[in-house]
């Protein structure tokens, strides 16, 4: 069984700081607004990043940060009330503005997505094998028998043991972790170059999550894919991603290689998130450093920095003008007038 690089369980600091291969996905100034009930919601407000083959990019944020909306915009999975502007190129081809038919050609074959709740994405009345086979046949004109064989191969690829037997099982006979592996198999049926995992492990136990994350990383190196992790779990991003993007109120507030982000955090919001996570090393009953308030109303964003109302370091210039996302240090971008000098988190 191939296990990828020599030491998949150790990451040298700054090992993958720069792009090592061609960029598969390039997002430029992506904006998504929702209009409804007389209000305009700026869900995503000018987001730019790139995803590279063989690299894992994590987009982290709380609910309402826009992380999920931005990815679904790329895949064309948003309701008609959404207005999308900006550019998202996959291997040069522009994805924004395509019709559903045109996007369908990209979905699965170029970009595939794995969602949070496999129970809702799998047809409960169909055996899992045929569901994977169906996905295979959507992307390649193969015979039924060939598709079945490929489906079994895919089950093996996602490390489901006794693949031949499992082929005939129904979703309800599988555990949550298994179902998620099946979803990954379906996503891989079209041999995509980019796999987006949208909170794919949020609903799983921590031990199962670790297994699935390991699987994803192994698959990434085996298939030389780009992997995007969307999550609210900062620790997950720290452990498994190469690059991390932190989003707040529809904008990117910090973007850095994982090793640097967590050892030298700059954006007060990122710092607040890190401090609020319960840590095993902390003594019991110690109060968690926490900031008050709630994320802003996306239809009535304050002038200046969106985080200013809740920020410890906020000053007048923060409320007056919005800080731009700039690369202040090589590889490390942040959008803040008064960044913190974060030590080891």
């Amino acid at each position: 069984m191939p296990s990828g690089n020599a030491g998949p369980y150790e990451r040298a600091p700054d090992e993958r700081a720069g792009p090592v291969s061609e960029s598969l996905l390039e997002v430029q100034d992506l904006k998504v607004t929702f209009t409804g009930g007389g209000r305009t919601l700026r869900a995503v407000d000018g987001v730019s990043y790139s995803a590279y083959a063989g690299q894992t990019l994590a987009i982290v944020g709380e609910s309402g940060s826009g992380k999920t909306v931005s990815c679904r915009a790329i895949m064309g999975l948003l309701p008609p009330t959404a207005t999308i502007t900006g550019s998202a190129r996959f291997a040069g081809a522009q994805l924004i503005g395509l019709t559903d038919d045109q996007l369908r050609r990209h979905r699965g074959a170029d970009v595939a997505m794995v969602f949070q709740d496999p129970t809702r994405s799998l047809n409960p009345t169909m055996r899992i094998g045929p569901q994977i086979a169906e996905a295979v046949r959507t992307h390649r004109p193969v015979s039924k028998r060939q598709a079945r064989q490929e489906a079994v191969d895919l089950l093996r690829l996602v490390r489901i043991p006794l693949a031949e037997r499992r082929y005939l099982e129904y979703p309800h006979q599988l555990s949550g972790g298994m179902r998620q592996r099946v979803m990954i198999a379906i996503a891989l049926a079209g041999r995509p170059r980019l796999l987006i995992a949208d909170e794919a492990t949020t609903a799983l136990d921590v031990t199962t999550q670790a297994q699935i994350m390991e699987l994803l990383l192994e698959l990434q190196s085996e298939l030389d894919m780009a992997l995007m992790l969307i999550s609210h779990d900062l620790a997950l991003a720290a452990s498994y991603a190469d690059e991390v993007i932190v989003m707040y109120a529809g904008k990117i507030v910090e973007h850095a290689p994982a090793s640097r982000l967590f050892s030298r955090v700059r954006m007060p919001y990122t710092q607040a998130l890190l401090e609020a996570i319960p840590r095993l090393e902390r003594p019991a009953h110690s109060p968690l450093p926490v900031i008050g308030g709630r994320p802003p109303d996306l239809s009535a964003l304050p002038a200046g920095c969106s985080f200013a109302p809740r920020c410890r370091c906020a000053a007048d210039d923060c409320r007056a003008a919005e800080p731009p996302l700039t690369e202040h240090e090589p590889g490390h971008r942040w959008a803040c007038w008064h960044p913190v000098e974060g030590g080891a988190a």
């Binding site: 720290a238 640097r260 019991a284």
Partner: protein
């Protein structure tokens, strides 16, 4: 038996659960969600129970409260066995025992106002007249950080997740309970709100001398709020001990696996290999002997033949395992080596345990 009393509290446990069993009858067979669990909670302490899907921890919480009643076993709360009481006597005995649930919105009747929700227990137990009740409601809302005049008349749908959970906590506090059972109370909240609510739990604990039975699937979270931690797997307790000890020197391989699976935000930490393999066995036919043996890197023949009993190996630190991890580090490397080699033979994994 279970751990001895922590130093700061009295020696009689507030809650003493013995051999609790809870069985369900499903179309596929009988499931023992809770299979002979015993533990104590002392006044003023927080006992955290951590377990993953299928561990039975939520069923445990409800069984303690007799909603629904356990199949067998005793639940001694302030000296009285709740399992033996019925009707009004159960109601009276349960007055000092309250619960906070996982879904803040699910646990609040959407048609009721905040004030009505918080006064419900006061009305049910007929405490005081309307004026006294109103005063208590205001008091308790302020305790949880909500403004009674602003939030009192609101409906749950007008609240955020954090606020709704605060209302649920206020309701639990209305009758001045001694013990609150918290069933994943922050799992559905965002990280920052979660931290706020956790701090609230701590503050209330200190101010009101509360005890908690805190149930969650997140070990770091549980350890943060608890004095002692109990680890559950497939209906049984694996390990019980002071939070620090369980973290620094885990005795049970499952605890070790849980610890290893937790992603760390420390960039310098090398990511450990998961020391657990395979899938959760069917709860209808749990493995013979030790239930964890099908996924344990240290499993041997004895594990299949004989079920391990809970033994106290260090002060207040007990484990149910034939081959507990002796010291920090030693067990880990061995476990990793075993896991690496045995994980390759996929045929063993997922096999129906017998």
């Amino acid at each position: 038996m279970t751990s001895t009393a922590p130093s700061e509290t009295a020696s009689t446990p507030l809650l003493a659960v013995r051999d609790l069993v809870h069985q369900f009858h499903t179309t596929a067979g009988v499931v023992q969600a809770v299979s002979g669990v015993s533990f104590d909670v002392y006044p003023g302490e927080t006992l955290g129970v951590v377990g993953e899907t299928g561990s039975g921890k939520s069923t445990l919480a409800r069984s303690v409260l007799q909603a629904p009643r356990p199949t067998s076993g005793s639940v001694l709360f302030r000296g009285t066995d709740l399992a033996r009481l019925r009707g009004t006597r159960l109601l009276a005995a349960r007055r000092h025992l309250q619960m906070v649930f996982q879904d803040p919105f699910g646990s609040l009747d959407p048609k009721w106002t905040v004030r009505a929700l918080v006064s419900e227990p006061l009305i049910a137990y007929r405490t005081g007249d309307r004026g006294a009740r109103r005063q208590r409601v205001d008091e308790v809302l302020e305790l949880v950080g909500l403004d009674p005049s602003a939030h009192g008349g609101r409906h749950p749908r007008e609240l955020s997740g954090g606020q709704a959970q605060r209302v649920a906590i206020a309701r639990a506090l209305a009758l001045s309970p001694s013990l609150i059972v918290c069933d994943e109370p922050v799992s559905s909240l965002d990280v920052l709100i979660q931290a706020q609510v956790l701090n609230l739990f701590e503050r209330l604990r200190a101010e009101l001398s509360l005890s908690y039975l805190f149930i969650a699937h997140d070990l770091a979270l549980v350890k943060q709020v608890s004095d002692r931690v109990a680890v559950m797997y497939l209906g049984k307790l694996c390990e019980v001990g002071p939070g620090d000890l369980v973290y620094r020197e885990p005795l049970h391989p499952y605890t070790r696996a849980l610890l290893d699976s937790i992603p760390s935000t420390d960039p310098a930490a090398a990511r450990r290999a998961t020391t657990i393999r395979g899938e959760l066995p069917s709860p209808i036919h749990p493995p013979s002997g030790c239930r964890f043996r099908t996924r344990c890197p240290r499993a041997a023949e004895r594990c299949a033949a004989e079920e391990p009993q809970m033994r106290e190996l260090a002060a207040g630190h007990s484990v149910a395992c034939h081959f507990p991890l002796a010291a920090p580090g030693a067990g880990t490397d061995e476990a990793v080596a075993v896991a690496r080699t045995t994980a390759r033979s996929e045929e063993k994994v997922g096999e129906t345990p017998r």
